[in-house]
C-alpha cells in the first residue's frame, strides 16, 4: 500500500473483469431511478463502474440516506443539558450523573423479519446492540416493539414464533436482558410485520467514542466475522415494497452469530477502554460501504480501502460483492498510529483477528482498490452529506388522504350501548394486543446482569445502574390506529404515552429514540401521514422537554394489499433517582388490600379509535382522543414527584381499553412479581355513557393506589401541581367492581385472569 497516494494524481478507475455492462437498466435493478442514474453520471463526468454504481445505490437507498425523511426530521428537538450525542451517530448519548452516561437507540428490522422471521429478528437485535457498544457503552437492556397480523392466522403464527425465538436466541446468548416491550396485532401488519429493536447501554463519560475516521495515514482495520455473499443489497431490499416476489429475496436476509457478537462486544469495549482507537463503527446496512463512507465523512477525511485484504468466507467474491455484503458481526475501526499490534493482541485474547484493510487519507474521496487496481473512486459528500448539492434529498409531495373524513366520523348516538359491560371487558382483556404477553417475554432472559428492578409486565421496565446508584426506566409505545385516523394527534400521543409510561414508574423522562414505520413515501397520502406524525411528535417532545437523541426511519412497509398503518414507535428513557439511598420504582399493580384508589387526569367521553371500539364493535374509526400537552406535562411531573416522596404504592397509565382495562390489570398483574392479587371497588362519579367512561381512551390519566396514611399529602401534592385528582375507590377482596352513575359491572379476579392470561398458549 502506498503512503503517498494523496500526492500522486489519482490512477484511472477501471472496471473489474467481472463487471457486467453498466447502464440504466442495471441502475434500475439496483433500485436507482433514472434521475439518480443521470445525477451519478453528472457527478463523475463518466459512466460509473459496477462497484461505484453499487455503492451509490446503497448509499442513496432510502434505508441509508434518509433522503425522504431528513427534511422532516429537522423539526425534532435534539438538544438538552444532558445530551452528549444527538442523532447522526451510531446511538445517542445522555448524561445520567456521577460521571456516567447512557447510550440508546431503536431500529427496525421489518423486511428481513417478514421473510425469514428468526434470522430477521435476531440480526435486528445484533445490529442495535453493535450500535450501542460501538459508542463505548456496555449494553444492559433490550426492548422490542412488534406488530403482527391476527394471531389466529397460521402465517402470522409462524412469524410470531420465529420473531420471538429469534429475539430471545440472540439477546439471551449475548447476555443482554430483554426487559420489556410491546406487541400489537392488527390485520394491516399481516404481510409486513414490524420488528423494532431497542438497546440501551451505559458508559463512563470518558469512554465515549464516535464513528470517525481521522488522522491521515491511520490504519483502517476490519474485525469480526468474515465476509460472505449474504445480505447483498439488504439496504436496497429494505427500501422497496414487500412484493409478491419478496420471498425470493431471502438471500438479502443475513444470518446472525450471537457468540461472535458477544466476543466482539467484549473485545470492542476493551479496545475502546485501552485508548488505541480513533473511531469505530458497526458494519450494518450496506456493510463495508456505509461504515467506511460515514466514518470518513464524520472525520472530514478520505479513505482508501483494499478489498483484497478483507477476510472472506466464500471464494470468487468480486469487489462489488465485498463492498455490499451485509454479513453480520463485523466492525470497522481506525487505530491510532503504531497501535495496530496492540489492537491485534486484545482481539486475539477474545479469539478474534484484525486485518488492516485501508488507510485514512486527506483526499475527501472514497476509493476502493482490488489487487492494486482502482475499481471505485467517489466523492464522499455526494454519498453522505445531505447539505451537499449532489446529495439526492427527495422533497416528496404530500396530500391529505381522502379516507380521513369518513374514517373520523363516528356518531356515538348510533353506536349500540352494550347490555353486557362485563362481557365487553372480558372480550377486550382477551384481545391479543391487550392480553398478558408472558408467552413472549418468558422466552427472553430478562434478569441477566442482575439489574432488573421491574420485570416485563408493567408500564415501564426499570433497571438499576450499579455504577452510579441510579435507575433507568424505559418503555416503547406507538399506536398505529391513532396515527391512521389522525396522524398529527397520533404522533403527539405516541410521545406522550411512552413518556407517561416511564413517568408513572417514578422516573423523569430524559430522552427519546424513535422508529418511524410507514408505507411507500412515493404515495403523497402516505408522505402526508409521515409529515404529520413527525410534526405531532416534535410538538409533544418540545412541550414535554424531552430531546430525541437517536432514531431510524423505515419506509416502504407495504405488501400486496397495501400499506401498514402509520406506526411511529417511540422509546422513552427516564432517570430514577434514589430515595433515601434506595431505588423504589412504582409498579403498575395494586400491592395490597386497604389502599385508596385515585384517578388523576380528566375523563371525557372519547370512544373514537379505541381498542373497545375495535374489539367489541369491529370499528376502526372515530375521532382520536384529544391530548392537552400542558396537562400531560403537569401529570407526568406529578407522577415523578409523588414517587420521589414515596406517596404512590402503584401507578398505571390508562391506555388501550381505558379505565376498565387498567383497573383489571392493576388487580391481577402483581402476582407474578411477588405482590398480592387484590380486587377493588372503583366508582367514577361522572355522568355520561358508561362504555365511553369505562373504555374510552382519554389520555393523560393515571390510576394510583395510595396508602390511607399518605392520602392527605398525595391530594395536597396534586392540588399544588394543578393536576385534577379524584378519589375513586379502594383495594381489597377478590372481585373488581367498576361503576359510574349509569351502569356498573362486577367480576371475580378468576374471571379476569381467565380472559387476560394464556391468550397465546395456542402458539406452543
Amino acid at each position: 500500500m502506498k503512503q503517498t497516494t494523496k500526492t500522486l494524481p489519482a490512477p484511472k478507475v477501471e472496471a473489474h473483469p467481472s463487471d457486467p455492462e453498466v447502464n440504466l437498466a442495471l441502475a434500475r435493478e439496483y433500485g436507482l431511478s433514472e434521475a439518480e442514474w443521470g445525477r451519478i453520471n453528472g457527478i463523475l463526468g463518466r459512466k460509473p463502474t459496477r462497484t461505484e454504481l453499487g455503492i451509490f445505490s446503497v448509499m442513496w437507498s432510502e434505508h441509508c440516506s434518509y433522503k425522504t425523511s431528513k427534511p422532516h426530521l429537522k423539526g425534532f428537538p435534539t438538544k438538552g443539558k444532558r445530551v452528549m450525542q444527538g442523532p447522526g451517530e451510531n446511538a445517542g448519548v445522555l448524561d445520567i450523573g456521577g460521571g456516567w452516561a447512557t447510550a440508546f437507540k431503536i431500529e427496525s428490522h421489518n423486511h428481513p423479519s417478514a421473510i425469514e422471521p428468526y434470522q430477521g429478528a435476531a440480526t435486528g437485535v445484533g445490529g442495535i446492540l453493535r450500535d450501542v457498544f460501538t459508542m463505548g457503552a456496555r449494553p444492559i437492556a433490550n426492548l422490542n416493539s412488534l406488530r403482527f397480523g391476527e394471531v389466529s392466522d397460521p402465517h402470522v403464527r409462524r412469524l410470531v414464533q420465529g420473531v420471538v425465538a429469534g429475539i430471545g436466541g440472540y439477546g439471551n446468548c449475548v447476555g443482554v436482558p430483554t426487559v420489556g416491550g410491546e406487541a400489537v396485532f392488527d390485520p394491516v401488519y399481516r404481510d409486513n410485520c414490524l420488528v423494532n429493536a431497542f438497546a440501551l447501554g451505559v458508559l463512563p463519560h470518558e469512554r465515549l467514542i464516535k464513528g470517525e475516521a481521522s488522522g491521515v495515514g491511520n490504519s483502517v482495520m476490519y474485525i469480526g466475522s468474515t465476509t460472505g455473499r449474504d445480505g447483498i443489497h439488504g439496504a436496497t431490499f429494505a427500501s422497496g415494497d414487500l412484493d409478491a416476489e419478496a420471498g425470493e429475496k431471502r438471500s438479502a436476509v443475513q444470518v446472525g452469530d450471537p457468540f461472535m457478537e458477544k466476543l466482539l462486544l467484549e473485545a470492542t469495549l476493551e479496545l475502546i477502554e485501552s485508548g488505541h482507537l480513533v473511531g469505530i463503527q458497526d458494519m450494518g446496512a450496506a456493510g463495508l460501504t456505509s461504515s467506511s463512507v460515514e466514518m470518513a465523512f464524520r472525520g472530514n477525511a478520505g479513505i482508501d480501502l483494499h478489498v483484497d485484504k478483507v477476510p472472506r468466507r466464500e471464494s470468487g467474491m468480486v469487489p462489488y460483492e465485498v463492498m455490499l455484503s451485509e454479513s453480520q458481526e463485523r466492525m470497522l475501526l481506525v487505530s491510532k498510529k503504531g497501535r495496530e499490534k496492540k489492537v491485534e493482541a486484545i482481539l486475539n485474547k477474545w479469539g478474534l483477528h484484525a486485518s488492516v484493510v485501508g488507510k485514512v487519507t486527506a483526499t475527501g474521496r472514497h476509493r476502493v482498490y482490488d489487487e492494486g487496481r482502482l475499481v471505485s473512486d467517489l466523492p464522499i459528500p455526494a454519498l453522505a452529506d445531505d447539505h451537499h448539492p449532489d446529495f439526492p434529498l427527495a422533497h416528496r409531495p404530500t396530500r391529505r388522504p381522502a379516507y380521513l373524513d369518513k374514517a373520523q366520523k363516528l356518531d356515538l348516538k348510533k353506536l349500540k350501548r352494550p347490555r353486557d359491560l362485563k362481557g365487553a371487558l372480558l372480550k377486550v382483556l382477551a384481545s391479543p394486543s391487550v392480553a398478558d404477553k408472558e408467552w413472549i417475554f418468558r422466552q427472553y432472559d430478562h434478569q441477566v446482569r442482575t439489574n432488573t428492578l421491574t420485570k416485563p409486565g408493567s408500564d415501564a421496565a426499570v433497571i438499576r445502574v450499579k455504577e452510579n446508584g441510579k435507575g433507568l426506566a424505559m418503555a416503547v409505545d406507538g399506536n398505529g390506529r391513532y396515527c391512521l385516523l389522525d396522524p398529527r394527534m397520533g404522533g403527539r400521543l405516541a410521545v406522550a404515552e411512552s413518556c407517561r409510561n416511564v413517568a408513572v414508574s417514578g422516573a423523569e423522562p430524559i430522552g427519546l429514540s424513535d422508529c418511524l414505520n410507514f408505507g411507500n413515501p412515493e404515495d403523497p397520502g402516505i408522505m402526508w401521514q409521515f409529515a404529520e406524525v413527525v410534526k405531532g411528535m416534535a410538538e409533544a417532545a418540545r412541550e414535554l422537554g424531552v430531546p430525541v437523541i437517536s432514531g431510524n426511519v423505515s419506509l416502504y412497509n407495504q405488501g400486496p394489499k397495501g400499506a401498514i398503518d402509520p406506526t411511529p414507535v417511540v422509546a422513552a428513557v427516564g432517570l430514577l433517582e434514589p430515595v433515601k439511598g434506595e431505588l423504589r420504582p412504582v409498579p403498575q399493580w395494586f400491592k395490597r388490600a386497604g389502599d385508596l384508589v385515585y384517578l388523576a387526569g380528566t375523563t371525557r367521553e372519547e370512544l373514537g379509535a379505541g381498542e373497545y371500539l375495535a374489539v367489541v364493535h369491529g370499528l376502526k374509526k372515530g375521532v382520536v382522543p384529544r391530548l392537552d400537552l400542558k396537562a400531560e406535562a403537569k401529570l407526568q411531573k406529578f407522577c415523578v414527584a409523588s414517587a420521589r416522596k414515596g406517596l404512590a404504592q402503584s401507578a398505571h397509565d390508562l391506555s388501550d381499553g381505558g379505565l376498565a382495562v387498567a383497573a383489571a390489570e392493576c388487580c391481577v398483574t402483581g402476582a407474578r412479581h411477588g405482590a398480592a392479587e387484590v380486587g377493588a371497588v372503583i366508582e367514577l362519579p361522572q355522568k355520561g355513557r358508561a362504555d365511553a367512561l369505562l373504555f374510552g381512551e382519554t389520555p393523560s390519566r393515571v390510576l394510583f393506589s395510595v396508602s390511607p396514611a399518605d392520602a392527605k399529602a398525595f391530594e395536597a401534592l396534586a392540588k399544588a401541581q394543578g393536576v385534577p385528582l379524584k378519589k375513586v375507590g379502594s383495594t381489597g377482596g377478590d372481585r373488581l367492581r367498576l361503576a359510574c352513575p349509569d351502569a356498573s359491572l362486577e367480576l371475580g379476579l378468576t374471571e379476569i385472569k381467565g380472559a387476560y392470561f394464556g391468550v397465546f398458549k395456542g402458539l406452543d
Binding site: 439471551n172 427472553y444 434478569q447
Partner: protein, 233 residues
C-alpha cells in the same frame, strides 16, 4: 475464604456471581480466565457461571470441558474442593463428568425465563443449610436446555445417596407436572456428585440475592456455603 468465578468466552453470569460474592457478601473473589491452567492459590469454592460458553456450539458445555481451567477445576474437585455450577455451569459439570446426568432441550423446545419453586432435597451438603430438607425456595430459571436426564441406575444411586439437591415444585412444595417447567426427570433441578462437594443446578440463585431484585432466596445457598467454609477454617 477465597472464591473463584470462571470466565469463558460467552459467559454471561460471571459478573453477576462476582457481584453477589464480592459486593453483597463482601468476600474475596476473582475472575479466572478459561485459558488459565490453575486456580488462584487457596481457592475454597469455584463457581462455574451461566451463559453460553463457546456459543454453546456442538452441545452446551461440551467445548468448555476441554478448556485448561476445567482441568484445574476437576483437580480441585478431586481434592474435595467445592465446585458450584449454575445453569450453563451445570451443563459444563455434566459434560466434565463432575456430576452425573445430562441436560436436554426443554420439553416445549423453548427458552424459559421465569420464577420457579424449588424444594431442597437430599442428605444435605455445603450448599444448603443444615436441616433445610423440604424447605421451598423461589428462584428464577433462564435456559433452553435444562431438562435433566440420567440413566435408571444413576437415578437410583442419586436417590440412595441423597444426591438430588433440588426438585421443581409448587409453592407448597408438592411435585406436580405443572411445576416442572422443562420436563426434567423426576422434577430434578440440581444434583450433587457422590462426595457432595460439587453441585450443579439450573436455577439462578445469584439473581435473587438482593431484595431490590425481587427476592433473597438465593442468599440462602450463598450463606450456607459461607457458613460451611468458615466452620472448616
Amino acid at each position: 475464604m477465597k472464591f473463584a468465578v470462571l470466565e469463558f468466552p460467552g459467559s454471561n453470569c460471571d459478573h453477576d456471581c462476582v457481584h453477589v460474592l464480592g459486593t453483597v457478601l463482601k468476600q474475596k473473589v476473582s475472575l479466572v480466565w478459561h485459558e488459565q491452567d490453575s486456580l488462584p492459590a487457596g481457592t475454597d469454592l469455584v463457581v462455574v457461571p451461566g451463559g453460553f460458553s463457546y456459543g454453546d456450539y456442538l452441545r452446551c458445555g461440551a467445548v468448555a470441558r476441554f478448556s485448561p481451567v476445567m482441568q484445574a477445576v476437576v483437580a480441585h474437585a478431586k481434592r474435595g474442593g467445592l465446585v458450584w455450577g449454575i445453569c450453563n455451569g451445570f451443563q459444563i459439570l455434566t459434560e466434565s463428568h463432575l456430576v452425573p446426568g445430562a441436560l436436554l432441550r426443554n420439553r416445549d423446545l423453548r427458552f424459559l425465563c421465569q420464577d420457579v419453586h424449588l424444594r431442597i432435597e437430599g442428605a444435605g451438603s455445603a450448599f444448603t443449610p443444615a436441616g433445610s430438607e423440604g424447605r421451598v425456595l423461589r428462584l428464577p430459571i433462564a435456559h433452553g436446555e435444562g431438562n435433566y436426564f440420567c440413566e435408571a441406575d444413576t437415578l437410583k444411586a442419586l436417590k440412595d445417596r441423597g444426591r438430588i439437591a433440588f426438585r421443581y415444585c409448587d409453592a407448597k412444595g408438592e411435585l406436580t407436572p405443572e411445576s416442572n417447567p422443562n420436563g426434567s426427570l423426576q422434577s430434578i433441578a440440581g444434583v450433587l456428585n457422590d462426595k457432595g462437594n460439587v453441585l450443579g443446578m439450573m436455577p439462578h440463585p445469584e439473581r435473587v440475592a438482593e431484595a431490590a431484585l425481587g427476592g433473597t432466596d438465593g442468599l440462602v445457598l450463598f450463606e450456607s456455603v459461607l457458613a460451611t467454609l468458615s466452620a472448616h477454617k
